[in-house]
Every structure is written in C-alpha cells, then in structure tokens.
C-alpha cells in the first residue's frame, strides 16, 4: 500500500467509525424517545406498558366528559366501540375536542387502568376515526369499516345537535 492510499484508508476508516457512532447514538436516543401507539382494544388486552409515555386514541364516548366544578380537571372515556379507556387530564382541551370525535392522548397508563394524559390532540377527520385506531381494530380481528360507519353516524348526530 502506498502512503497516499494508507492515508486515504485512515481517513475513510475514521469517517465511517464516526458515522457509526453518530448513528448508534441517534438510534439510542430514538429508542428512549419513541411513543408507541395503542388503541383501547390493545390496552384492554394488556399489551400496553404501565407508567411509560405512550399514545392512545379512539373516539370520545358520547356523554362521558365530566368536568370538575372547581379546577380544570376533566375526565372522559376513549372508546373504539369494542373496549373503553378512561382518561384523566388537567388543563385546556383543544378546540376540536368534542364528544363523538376522534382524539389522540399522550401520557401514561396507571396501574388502576386509567390513563393520565399530559397532552390531548384532536383533529377533524372525514372518517371520524383516527387511522391508527382503525388499523388496531383490523389487527384485533374486527372489521374497521363497521366501526367507522358507526363512528361516522354518531359523529354526524353530534354535529346536528350542536
């Protein structure tokens, strides 16, 4: 090997190892910071970890939202029409949060089976059901189309009422 080649090899080896370290660190940081998504069905089957930051989602069950009279505490139930997940939250709900509409909550599952949300995300969806929930229902062996139709029906009723 000529000296130039040797030097080039050294540079390449250094660069590759540096890049490997960088990618390794990034992947480690990713592992520690990803939030997995669970639907009420999956949580009811015990698939979700306790007291670790996860995301959950479904439809806000009609008539389930109850507010504390003194504070900003609020409790509601998220459902995928198979299983229910009770959620506690403290703070201001987003503009698009409504009963019968899709919602995604970020927070931790407590050992009493309640979900303590740090963040509530709501958005208007033409299908009324968040796509992640539809996917989870399908995986659990249900037909998401039926549930979507149901969700859309309830959603429309809610909208007509307001």
């Amino acid at each position: 090997m000529t000296p130039t080649r040797k030097r080039k090899l050294l540079v390449i080896v250094t660069l590759v190892s540096l890049a490997a370290v960088a990618v390794g660190l990034s992947l480690y940081a990713l592992r520690a910071n990803i939030n997995l998504f669970f639907s009420p069905v999956q949580i009811a089957q015990g698939e979700a970890p306790l007291e670790r930051s996860i995301r959950a989602g479904g439809m806000v069950k009609v008539g389930s939202v109850s507010r504390d009279a003194e504070s900003l505490n609020v409790a509601f139930t998220v459902t995928d029409y198979v299983d229910d997940l009770p959620v506690d939250y403290q703070g201001i709900l987003p503009d698009l949060f409504r009963e019968g509409q899709g919602v995604v909550v970020v927070g931790e599952l407590q050992d009493d089976g309640r979900f303590r949300a740090d963040e509530v995300l709501a958005r208007h969806d033409e299908n009324y059901m968040p796509p992640e929930v539809a996917k989870a229902l399908e995986d659990a062996g249900y037909s998401p189309a039926d549930f979507q139709a149901k969700a859309a029906e309830i959603g429309r009723q809610q909208e007509d009422d307001t």
Binding site: A22, V23, S26, L27, A29, G91, L96, T162
Partner: protein, 659 residues
C-alpha cells in the same frame, strides 16, 4: 359569458407552459451536448414564455377566487362568499393545487430571472442551467396537470356557496409564510441547476462560484424568513404558545435550511480557495433534494397536519417518483463527473478552511439526525412495524449539543486565516472573549432570576462567545487602516453579511434559551371579576362579550392587565371564534408583544356557569427568536448586494493552491 371561460384559459395556459418547459429542457441540453448554438438559444425565450403563461394561469385562478366562481372545485372547497377579499387572494395558495401552482410560478420566475441576469455566462453553461430548470419545471407542471389540476370544474354539481378556507389559515402569517418558504425552496433549484450544469460541462471555476453564490444566499435568506414566519405563525395561531414543535412539517423546512447553510459556507471556500468543489456540488444536490423531499412530505398526505390538505395517494407517489428520479440522476451525474472538477488544495488543520469543513460536517450531522427522527416513524409504518411517533426529547437531545459545538467553532471561524492560522494568535485574540462569555453567561441568570441554571449559562455563553468574537474581529479590522472610519468603509458588504448572519444566530439562541427556561404558563379557570397573578402581572377578567365577524361568531373575554403596583393598565381581548361555513371553532390569542417579554392569553373552553378556561403565559425574549431569523436573512441579502458579484470578470480558473 367570457368571464365563465377564465378557468379554461388558465388550464390552457398551464398546458402551454408545460410544452414550453419540455422544449426548454430538451433543446438547450441537447444543443449543449452537440454544440448547436441555435438549439441552445431556445432556453431564454422558452423560460420567459413559460413564466408569462404561468403568470396568466395564476391570474386566472386568482380571478376565479375573487369572482366566487364555485364551478371550480378548488375555489368551492377553499373559499366562501363571506371571506374577506385579502383572504381570497391568499386562499389561492392555501390549498394543495394552488400551492403547487405558486411553486411552479416561482420556479418559472426564478428561471426567467436566471435567463436574463446570466447573459454573461458562457453560452453552453447558460443552456445547461436553463435545461435543468426546464426539466424540474416539466416535472412539476406534469404533476399539476395529471394529479392536481387547480382548474377542475364541477359544472353540474356547482354548490351555491364555498366550503370556506380553513380558519387556521385565515391570517396574515399565512399570507406571507408559504410564498417566502417557496421562494427559498425554489431558489435552491437554481443553485442545483448551476451545480448540475457545472458537472455536465466539466467546468467548476471561480466564475462559476461567483454566479452560484448570490443565488444560494438569496434562496437561503428567503428560506430563513419563511421558517421564522412559520414559527411565529404557529406561536400565535395555534394557541399553545410553542414556537417549534419538531413537527415533521417543520423539519421538512429545516432540513434544506441546514444543508443550505452548509452550502453557503462551502461555496465561500470554493470561491476563495478553489477547494471543496465536489463537496459544494454535493451540498447543492442535497439541498435541492431535501427541498423536494419536504414538498413530498407536506404534499403527499403521509403526514397529518394543517399543511396536509386533501390526501390522494397518487400525488404522493408522483412526487416520490420525481424525487427518486432527481436524486438518482443527479447523484449519477455527480459520480461520473465529480472527479473531473475536483482537485486537492492543501490546508492546515487549524485554518479557516478546516473550520468551515468542521462546520459543514456538523451541519450535515444535524441534518442526518433530524432526517432520521423525521423519517423513522414513516419507514416503520410503511414496513408495517407499528405506529410510533418521535417526540421533541429525541430532537432536543441531539440537536442542542450539536448546535452548541457548532457555535463554538462559529466563534473561531471569522478570526481564522485561510490555509493556516497559528494557535497562539487565535488564543491571544480570543481568550478574553471566551472568559467574558463564560463569566457573563454564569452571572446573568444569577442576577436576572437569583438562581443559577446550567442550561441558561450554556446558551447565553455561546451566544455571547459568538458576539464577542465578532466584536473582537471588527475591532481588529478597524485598527488596520489610516483611520477607523476609513477602515470601516473598506469593509465589504459580504463581510457585514457574515457579521449579521452570525449575530442573528446568537440572537436566536438567546431567545430560545431564555424563553425555554423562564417562560411561565398557567392554565386557570376564570369568571368575570376573578383575578390571577402570573409572573408579576395581575390579570383581571372584566367581562365576556359576543361579537360577529365577517364569517364567524366570537366570544370575547375582556381582561385588564396591570404590572405589579404600577398605575398603567391595558386590556387584552382573547377570542373564541366559531367559523360559520365550516363550523370549526378557533382560538384567537391576545398578545401584548414586547422586545423583552410577551404576554399571551388564550381562551380555552366554556366551562359553564359563566367561567372559562384560560391559558395565560409570560414569554420572555420570545421575539428574539424571529428577530435573529430576520437578522440572518438580512445578512444573506447584504452578502448578495456585494459589488463583487456584479463586476464583469473574465472566466478565469481559481489559482492553484500550494501543497
């Protein structure tokens, strides 16, 4: 009757523009390859014609909006007769089809300017630049005509009124944010075209860099303003008071900005020293590819946000294919031709060359980490491995330390000499700046808050380090020359551009550091005549009023604010609006802006019994974030104005370095 034909005129104009773009791509490129001057000469008129016809098409769409022509699907789904006229104008690009039209119009505009401003370029070079631009343009026009035609009609099922523009987009921030961002994205396409043309022609000399640099700087400046505006818009419009969410859509604009910044710096080395040539070209390719990828992410509907309008898988696929073709072809050209343009120029490991190389390495590393965090969930999802999301902690954990390291080098860069710098000299000129930055950084949190904070110290220290070392450099430069005044006048505009750009980074860092650590947020329950104290301000709600706007109903809270015991009071009026056409509720934030603090009040929901949930925030130094962005952009513009780029020079190759 003729008015009814406006959309058809627009549609035809689009088709003609596409044909012209195809000619602009095919003939000049073929002409340059076979040395036929006549073919090459097609570039300029086609670039001009394309721009004229796209302008016509854009004018037609705007007219349809202003005339409330709901037979056009695009107008019917994004406007409403109650919408004020200025929002009708901005609604043109507040949707997928219209924004692609704006993108193409800007591309044609840049192409047209490039065609007429670059007459002094060698003929084959200009032909290649215009040819590449024509290729890009053809791709986008084809995309528009095949998958997202803004002029699609619904004559039989014409609605009586439009569905209205998304209320979040009815805002001044949105009027200016997308055009700025697009000017940046599209501006990089010109640089990309220059890079590919240089590779094809096998000629990458000092004249080339002198052509490419102004385009890069101006595109970069636009992109910077676009990102700053987006952050500002998210801050006051979304009602959360956050200014950066590491949302994939934001990342999509940050990625080309990072590589664009690397490109700006590596071009400086290429111009001054003739080195890093292939790297510069690679950065130009990367920046434009990332711009395209940003467009793909935002336009394809793989992401869900306010930016993802109607989702249609065929569109995503089209852009993905376009992206794949661009990246593959340009990397192929790069692999085949780069060895011909590059040559090694030696430099010492402590020199401005080396520092800029480190800067580029760090910026690319940042790009990779952000890219990884943005694409990881998408890749896992498409492989069926589960739905995950990557949160801000990941980005902060990697981005913040990398920024700190980059800024350390940023303080050294401007003072280092090309080729080689003696460590002793650097230490002699900068030791006090380092010490002062550390000392002040440690003291300020103590004095300001009476409590020491490691992160604030770190943030302020590096910001001060950048400012003080810039100050030292300026001071030294003023001493050389007969009088300081004369020395000041001798400094070039591009030097001032660099100073402002770096200063902007420091200002942004101060803003980010202070607002991240000293912001106060309180969510409270408020009824008329209740009062809350936040960060030394007394907020008293005096009443709730009803109001009717042009296309919405609103509940307005009247809140009196008083600082401490001072007599001065002012009123803040946050609103909760209900937009009539969409039935969408919206929070209109009340802001009391200031250079050193913002007060921010957002109305939550009606809790019944006359009380409302309110989010009250105290945001110190938050304006500095965007002020820094504006300073950076101004720096970019100043650098372009440097007369060096307007002087006529014969195309001479860069002189060879030693070693």
């Amino acid at each position: 009757m003729l008015i009814r034909l406006i959309p058809e005129v627009g549609h035809f104009a689009l088709i003609i523009a596409l044909l012209m773009a195809v000619i602009q791509a095919a003939l000049p490129l073929a002409g340059a390859a076979t040395r036929r001057p006549l073919w090459m000469a097609y570039g300029q008129p086609m670039a001009t014609g394309q721009f004229v016809f796209l302008l016509l098409a854009y004018g037609c769409l705007t007219a349809s909006y202003l005339l409330d022509d709901y037979s056009v699907v695009n107008v019917a789904s994004n406007a409403n007769s109650l919408l004020p006229w200025y929002y009708k104008l901005s609604a043109v690009w507040g949707n997928h089809e219209g924004s692609v039209l704006l993108w193409s119009l800007m591309l044609a505009g840049w192409g047209c300017v490039a065609a007429w401003r670059s007459q002094r370029l060698p003929r084959d070079m200009l032909a290649r630049v215009l040819g590449v631009l024509g290729l890009i343009s053809s791709g986008f026009l084809l995309f528009m005509l095949l998958t997202s035609n803004p002029f699609e009609r619904q004559l039989l099922t014409m609605p009586t009124d439009g569905a209205d523009l998304n209320p979040l987009l009815q805002d001044i921030g949105l009027i200016v944010h997308p055009p700025m961002l697009y000017m940046g994205y599209v501006g990089f396409s010109v640089v990309f075209a220059f890079a590919i043309a240089a590779l094809l022609g096998g000629r990458l000399d000092a004249a080339w860099t002198r052509w490419a640099r102004p385009w890069t700087n101006i595109a970069w400046a636009f992109l910077t303003v676009g990102i700053a505006l987006g952050s500002w818009w998210a801050y006051y419009e979304l009602g959360w008071g956050g200014w950066w969410f590491w949302d994939p859509v934001e990342n999509a604009s940050l990625l080309p900005w990072l590589t664009g910044t690397a490109l700006v710096h590596s071009l400086a080395v290429t111009e001054k020293r003739g080195s890093f040539k292939s790297w510069t070209v690679l950065m130009a390719i990367a920046t434009f590819s990332l711009s395209l990828m940003g467009t793909f992410l935002v336009r394809s509907g793989v992401l869900t946000s306010v930016h993802a309008f109607a989702n249609d898988p065929s569109r995503g696929l089209f852009i993905l294919v376009l992206l794949a073709i661009t990246v593959t072809l340009s990397l192929l050209v790069f692999a085949l031709r780069a060895p011909r343009v590059s040559h090694a120029v030696g430099f010492n490991w402590l020199s401005r060359d080396a520092l800029l190389l480190i800067n580029n390495g760090l910026l690319v590393t940042m790009t990779m980490t952000v890219l990884l965090g943005t694409l990881y969930p998408l890749i896992l999802d498409s492989l069926g491995l589960g739905k995950i999301s990557v949160g801000p902690p990941y980005f902060n954990a990697l981005f913040v330390p990398l920024t700190v390291i980059t800024c350390l080098f940023m303080g050294l860069g401007p003072l280092a000499r090309w080729k080689s710098t003696s460590p002793g000299e650097l230490v002699r000129r900068l030791w006090w700046a380092g010490l002062a930055a550390l000392a002040l950084g440690a003291l300020i949190p103590l004095v300001y808050r009476g409590e020491w904070n490691l992160w604030v110290t770190l943030g302020l220290s590096i910001a001060l380090w950048i400012m003080l070392s810039l100050g030292r450099d300026l001071f030294d430069r003023l001493r050389h020359g007969r009088s300081p005044w004369q020395a000041l006048r001798r400094l070039s505009l591009s030097y001032w551009g660099m100073v402002l750009g770096h200063l902007g980074v420091a200002v942004t860092i101060v803003g980010a550091t202070v607002v991240s650590h000293y912001a106060v947020e309180q969510s409270v329950r408020m009824a008329p005549d209740t009062s809350v104290s936040v960060a030394g301000y007394q907020f008293t709600m005096t009443g709730i009023n009803d109001r009717r706007g042009p296309n919405y109903l609103a509940d307005t809270a009247v809140i009196e604010v008083q600082r401490g015991d001072s007599r001065r009071r002012f009123v803040m009026q946050p609103e909760k609006r209900l937009y009539l056409a969409t039935g969408m509720p919206m929070t209109q934030v009340a802001l009391s802006p200031g250079l050193f603090r913002d007060l921010y009040v957002a109305m939550g929901e009606d809790l019944g019994d006359g009380s409302w949930a309110m989010r009250i925030q105290y945001k110190p130094f938050v304006r500095w974030l965007w002020l820094g962005g504006l300073l950076m952009a101004l720096g970019g513009v100043l650098a372009v104005a440097d007369k060096r780029y307007r002087r006529v020079r014969p195309a001479t190759p860069v002189q060879e370095g030693h070693g």
